[in-house]
């Protein structure tokens, strides 16, 4: 359940990052000091890096749980 939520957050954060880089200045505002952009951008950055770290951690945990064959 947590892994699935993390995967969804990961995909959403990627979409958000792309939108903030290319869509925001065209569709919303070009103000470099926009407070809303600041909040959304930092939230997206934290969500992207955090969910990426979780995805990686889940993979490592799954591998660690696998039974080892041989020596």
């Amino acid at each position: 359940m947590i892994a699935r939520a993390c995967a969804v957050l990961f995909r959403l954060s990627v979409a958000s990052c792309i939108f903030l880089a290319f869509g925001w200045p065209l569709l919303v505002s070009r103000d470099p000091a926009d407070e809303v952009f600041r909040v959304v951008a930092i939230a997206s950055l934290v969500a992207f890096l955090g969910s990426l770290a979780c995805e990686i951690a889940f993979r490592m945990a799954r591998r660690a749980d696998e039974p080892r064959v041989g020596g």
């Binding site: 792309i18 952009f37 951008a41 990426l52 770290a53 995805e55 990686i56 993979r59």
Partner: protein, 231 residues
């Protein structure tokens, strides 16, 4: 954000997207670093101005950096090149690799808006428009958030290599990755799993080489940025 951080994040992005082939992960990882290819212009300028960093910076780097390679046009170009490089995967696989490469390149742009410094805008619509896009609050490349990300990337590289048997070192080839993974995994035993004392000593030497290279690489990245943790 520093180049190594872009490369490692893009490799982990490819890994988290379940790309099975090492070559595909490599394509996506390098696509995530590709926008910084304009550093070649700075190196050429250094040669042209006979290593005068100020002239090279003022006349070339300040003008060129981010302008031509940090925008949608370059993202599309990255996708085309990735599709061509992934050609052996079959049409469906190549499209997926190209799409992930474009996303990695796009993420690079966002990371530079948020963590590239307020004086280095990106140009989303170049060559159609010279409109720049930056955030006034963006933290510069030597500030602590970027350093934390860089150190986390290096730590994740080592941890992932040890547990999973592959790491972002894959970007530099399977042999490089195999070499570092072998050192990391054997290092979990007291003598690196080597029963022969000579082999154990060789392993220990290789481990020292890796840690020294890691420390030197970190210093080489941080020193030009004026990062001083003791200030």
């Amino acid at each position: 954000m520093q180049g190594p951080s872009h490369l490692v994040i893009s490799w982990f992005y490819a890994e988290a997207s379940s790309l099975e082939q090492a070559r595909d992960r490599r394509i996506v990882a390098w696509a995530g670093l590709a926008p910084d290819i304009d550093v070649v212009a700075y190196i050429a300028a250094l040669v042209y101005y006979r290593l005068d960093k100020d002239l090279a910076f003022e006349n070339v780097w300040r003008v060129v950096h981010h302008r031509y390679t940090h925008g949608l046009a370059f993202v599309v170009l990255t996708g085309v090149v990735a599709y061509w490089l992934a050609g052996a995967r079959g049409r469906r696989g190549s499209v997926r690799v190209a799409a992930l490469a474009m996303l990695a390149s796009g993420i690079h742009n966002f990371l530079d808006v948020a963590a590239g410094g307020p004086t280095w805008p990106i140009y989303p619509l170049w060559p159609l428009s010279d409109a720049a896009w930056h955030a006034s609050w963006s933290w510069t490349i030597g500030e602590w958030p970027n350093i934390v990300v860089l150190v986390a990337c290096l730590a994740a590289t080592l941890a992932y290599g040890k547990v999973m048997g592959r790491s972002p070192m894959e970007c530099f080839g399977d042999r490089a990755d195999g070499w570092i993974v072998r050192i990391l995994q054997q290092g979990s035993d007291a003598h690196g799993g080597a029963t022969d004392p000579a082999a154990a000593r060789a392993l220990q030497r290789r481990r020292i080489v890796i840690w020294t290279a890691l420390v030197l690489a970190t210093i080489a990245i941080l020193a030009p940025l004026g990062f001083n943790p003791f200030q």
